[in-house]
């Protein structure tokens, strides 16, 4: 939501020079969401609303417990309830807390054309700096997780900030604070991976042979990770992508196409200029030629 001086910036949208680097690098943080411990109480959603001062409109029921039915500019996290049968006649209710994954290689930041409208802090949090947002929606095009939402009120993009304002002053995110079962944990990414590994051992003992931590390498890993009972099939969890990465179309558009296009345009102008210098203009026939025999 806003830039914090206490958090150093590691990457800044639409900026081609390096960020300030004088201060020593800080530890990367991560949130670990243990789906197997979640009871679907939505305390995290309420805490998110309360801390970030967000109040969504009253929506409609869509036949599931999802409420609201989707992420919105006012709902930065939503519990996704999936009733699935991983094996025949074995019903499971998988509840995944959806929201920004805080990618190490954020597609939103790569696509954003407004300088400084999206930043990634050195601790790994990806934040939208709303006052710089121009409302183009390129972050939506860039995101592999379908997370950013553009407000119809102000045409700015919104998403989970991982409570960067809390983390910046040494607090845990509001959702972590509120979770009654300890399903949401927050700390250094290293510690979260260690803790996740312990949970995996436990889950495997309980018969979940394919339990694992969701930290997808296609986006360089994420700073929001899941413990999944069925890590081999993340799609079971309301379509969590199995191998998310920045779309090759976006990578081409906001990658090699940029320098190539600049070279092509500058090259065309320079070619014209030097062609004129070398060959010179095609002169129109002089007035005197008018009467001359042809």
């Amino acid at each position: 939501m806003s830039s914090l001086q206490s958090l150093d910036i590691a990457a800044r949208s639409a900026t081609t020079t390096p960020p300030p680097q004088a201060r020593r690098s800080v530890i990367e943080v991560a949130k670990l969401i243990d789906v197997s411990s979640c009871i679907g109480c939505k305390a995290c959603q309420v805490a998110c609303m309360q801390w970030n001062d967000l109040r969504d409109d009253v929506g409609t029921v869509g036949g599931s417990y999802d409420n609201p039915r989707d992420l919105t500019p006012q709902s930065w996290t939503v519990m996704r309830f999936s009733e699935v049968e991983p094996e025949k006649d074995k019903l499971e209710w998988l509840i995944r807390k959806d929201g920004c994954m805080h990618c190490e290689d954020p597609g939103c930041l790569k696509a954003c054309p407004a300088p400084g409208a999206i930043v990634k802090y050195t601790n790994g949090i990806v934040d939208f700096i709303s006052e710089h947002c121009i409302g183009c929606g390129y972050c939506v095009e860039g995101c592999p997780f379908d997370v950013p939402r553009i407000s119809q009120k102000d045409n700015k993009a919104y998403k989970c900030s991982l409570c960067s304002d809390r983390v910046g002053v040494g607090l845990e995110p509001a959702c972590v604070k509120a979770c009654p079962t300890g399903a949401i944990r927050f700390g250094s990414k290293e510690d979260m991976l260690d803790f996740g590994a312990e949970r995996i051992v436990d889950l495997k003992e309980r018969g979940y042979a394919n339990a694992g931590v969701y930290d997808p390498p296609g986006v360089g890993g994420t700073h929001v990770m899941y413990v999944l009972q069925h890590a081999d099939r993340p799609e079971l969890y309301h379509g969590l992508p199995a191998d998310p990465k920045i779309s090759p179309l976006v990578a081409l558009w906001k990658g090699i196409a940029k320098p190539l296009a600049l070279v092509a345009m500058a090259g065309a102008v320079l070619t014209g200029f030097f062609h004129y210098i070398k060959v010179g203009p095609i002169e129109a026939k002089e007035d005197a030629d008018e009467g001359a025999p042809r």
């Binding site: 300088p115 121009i134 939506v140 179309l249 004129y276 095609i282």
Partner: protein, 206 residues
């Protein structure tokens, strides 16, 4: 006295320069969203958010104006056998040797190619532009289509900008051309030299 031949009516010239101005605004503001080093061009439409708001409207206006120009000139821009010969001889011409050039009508093959590239690019820009026009139309399209659209929009814009660079340079390179679009007339000498078949049509071969 130099004799002048009418080449463009008042309305045609106004239409052309309207497109040119709209192109300038759309191209510069579009480049601002394309490359960070060109973001300052968003100032031509009043800064980031205003450029984002206005760019699509400027583009649609340009397309509408171009449709009028297209309706007026597409017949004269149809490719002929002589045009193929012209493109074969374009190399020596660019090196300064015009002796092998076949006679040209109202437009030479280079002008026709710029015309058709502009028409195709503007159509692609219009169609793809709607697909990611926020906040009005983008939410109605699936994300894959939106991603294809932003890429095609950029490619079409680049091709159009390159075509316009060629278009402007050709007008500077061939002396006496510019007044065709400013005053609407060209000298007989210019017409006889650069567009002899058109000169014949206009003067009856006098």
């Amino acid at each position: 006295m130099t004799r002048y031949i009418k080449r463009y009516e008042d309305g045609e010239r106004i239409n052309h320069w309207l497109i040119a101005l709209l192109f300038l605004l759309a191209a510069l503001s579009g480049l601002a969203f394309f490359h960070p080093s060109l973001y300052f061009f968003s100032a031509v439409l009043g800064g980031g958010p205003w450029a984002r708001i206005l760019h699509p409207f400027v583009g649609v206006l340009m397309f509408v104006a171009f449709v009028l120009l297209f309706a007026k000139f597409w017949r004269a821009n149809r490719m002929t056998a002589l045009d193929r010969e012209w493109t074969r001889q374009a190399g020596p011409m660019l090196r300064g040797d015009k002796s092998q050039m076949p006679p040209v009508g109202k437009y030479n093959a280079g002008q026709k190619i710029v015309f058709w590239i502009s028409a195709i690019c503007l159509l692609v820009l219009l169609l793809t532009g709607f697909v990611f026009w926020r906040p009005y139309f983008a939410p109605a399209f699936p994300i894959l289509l939106v991603r294809v659209a932003v890429l095609l929009h950029s490619v079409a814009a680049l091709v159009l900008i390159l075509a316009i660079i060629v278009h402007v340079y050709a007008a500077i390179w061939v002396r006496g051309t510019f007044r065709a679009m400013t005053r609407g007339t060209v000298s007989e000498g210019w017409a006889r030299q650069n567009h002899p078949l058109w000169h014949q049509d206009m003067t009856g071969g006098r």
